[in-house]
Symmetry: C2
Subunit: 326 residues, 2 copies
């Protein structure tokens, strides 16, 4: 079991995250051992585990910290994340994820669709086993509903040259920030944090998630190696236009249109030209500035939390999201 | 809103089922109105609504019948069924469902995968809103886990000429009977039926589900029109071998093998030849006999229920499953 190297600086969290992975592994039992093997490879392929990490840290907020419960809730959130990744790979026809062949590429969409469904259910199973109130489950399912809305929105906006910054933010709020927010909130309620604190945790998670996704989208344009475990510029080819492009394209649709509307037929030269245009119009810088604004908002909320190791680590992690050491 | 004509003989149930459809409709709000429209078309396309019907009838078993709660639980189960149908259509690349174009054929796998996921979540949302205990949700999610296991098993067994009757029964138990059982069980617990009664309801649902799926599979070989809203013999072409074929093929692998292993390349003449072979070896009769055994088991359990309209209607519906008036 290999945890991402970023956790070396967080020894307690690292131990808990290892336990999260074991909990997930214990809960996944698929009769088809080849598929089980593949799911387990995905678990151990060195995902960053940010969502469970934020859940675990937030579990220190309440008066009734229970390590086993915190770990279970964190595991449920990572399982949910895995389910969406597997379905994303079906939708995007991705061949690689975290440097490993995807389930769809190895066994076909058949397996990938049902395996994702199976993981969705495992998430609810773990959540219901460790929640002490129905209202938590109801809250979670409402959140997950919004996450899927975000995915559907992203589909709807494909190849839309008129997509606005606001529409982009709504989309990533649903697709990403919602799950970060739910992670922080669920961690807090797992230790019976009072509602005001849990809502603060929710907000922090939301801001962190927004920053994280913007940086992720920036890297799609700036990263030149395959260290990300996925093809660079994949989004553009799929018609998903993200913040650096949206900023650069504002008021310049005529300039970008002919290039983008080649869709999947865009050549490497077209992509290089696109990157040059985005660069000329400072798309990446503007996107990065907005990500910085979100981390600042998160830090402002974090500063209001009760002092303690939890707060310090959360603050440190927040800075690391922006520097993308993580 | 058009309910299946079979419900004409059950006026109270018909009213409640209409309410179930309205509850589902109310809970489905997708920003992309085209997709929402398509999901709503699926709701109203005249599905048989057997699962919610069994849930509603079973809700009369307990001492604390609450119509709104019963309808909500019934709605959640139909939504779950719809989610699996939409994902089944992705996996099977089906073009039609209930006589309407499928979401995958109309909008692509993208939408269909996420729409199914969305409906899964709506199911849990409705369930958690109307359950009064976490253990019910936990029970439901464990059941849904088994349903998806059944789907994955079905994938694993594709194009396997050695598939046994036992393996077939395990598969349909997960894929179909589990949801019928959960419907009866959830209905019963929604009215706070004592555990012994709820377990009886579970067993009845299981037997009904087994009979229903066997008959459904028989119809795949015997139905000559497209009244089913799906292509006949679809299963065989996809490598999914069901009971009439399994019975006919027992000890005759050499005779069936060359035909079946043409896989998707099987011609209409091949299919006709296959039907002739199944007919010669009485595959359909044997399958039908087993379905009859399951309805008999169901009737035996139904007879032990407290007397009342609930019991009479359940018994009548059980006979109708076998006659496939429904």
């Amino acid at each position: 079991m290999q945890l991402h190297s970023m956790w070396e600086n967080y020894p307690e969290l690292k131990k808990d995250l290892a336990e999260v992975l074991m909990t997930i592994e214990k809960n996944i039992q698929i009769r088809d051992k080849r598929v089980e093997e593949n799911v387990k490879m995905l678990i151990h392929a060195g995902g960053k585990l940010l969502r469970p990490a934020f859940a675990l840290l937030s579990a220190k907020l309440g008066p009734d910290y229970d390590r086993e419960r915190a770990i279970s809730v964190a595991a449920a959130l990572e399982v949910l994340h895995m389910a969406t990744l597997i379905h994303d790979d079906v939708v995007d026809e991705s061949k690689l994820r975290r440097g490993q062949p995807t389930i769809n590429s190895k066994y076909g969409n058949h397996y990938a669709v049902y395996t994702g469904d199976y993981l969705f259910t495992i998430c609810f199973k773990i959540l219901s086993k460790h929640s002490d109130s129905i209202s938590n489950i109801e809250f979670s399912s409402k959140n997950i509903e919004k996450i899927l809305m975000g995915e559907l929105d992203q589909m709807r906006m494909r190849y839309n040259l008129d997509v606005s910054v606001k529409e982009y933010l709504t989309r990533i709020s649903g697709k990403t920030a919602q799950l970060f927010a739910l992670s922080c909130y669920s961690g807090a309620t797992a230790s019976k944090a009072p509602r005001t604190l849990a809502v603060k945790a929710w907000n922090i998670g939301h801001y962190l998630g927004m920053a994280f996704q913007i940086i992720d989208d920036v890297l799609d344009y700036t990263s030149t190696d395959t260290g990300l475990g996925k093809p660079v510029m994949n989004d553009v080819l799929q018609g998903v236009y993200s913040l650096p492009l949206i900023y650069a394209m504002r008021g310049r649709k005529a300039e970008f249109g002919p290039l983008l509307l080649k869709k999947e037929a865009m050549t490497d030269a077209d992509l290089a030209e696109l990157i040059r245009l985005i660069d000329d119009y400072h798309g990446v810088e503007q996107a990065f500035d907005l990500a910085r604004k979100y981390t600042k908002k998160a830090q402002k909320e974090i500063a209001k939390l009760p002092a303690g190791a939890y707060r310090d680590q959360l603050s440190k992690l927040t800075d690391e999201i922006l520097d993308r050491q993580i």
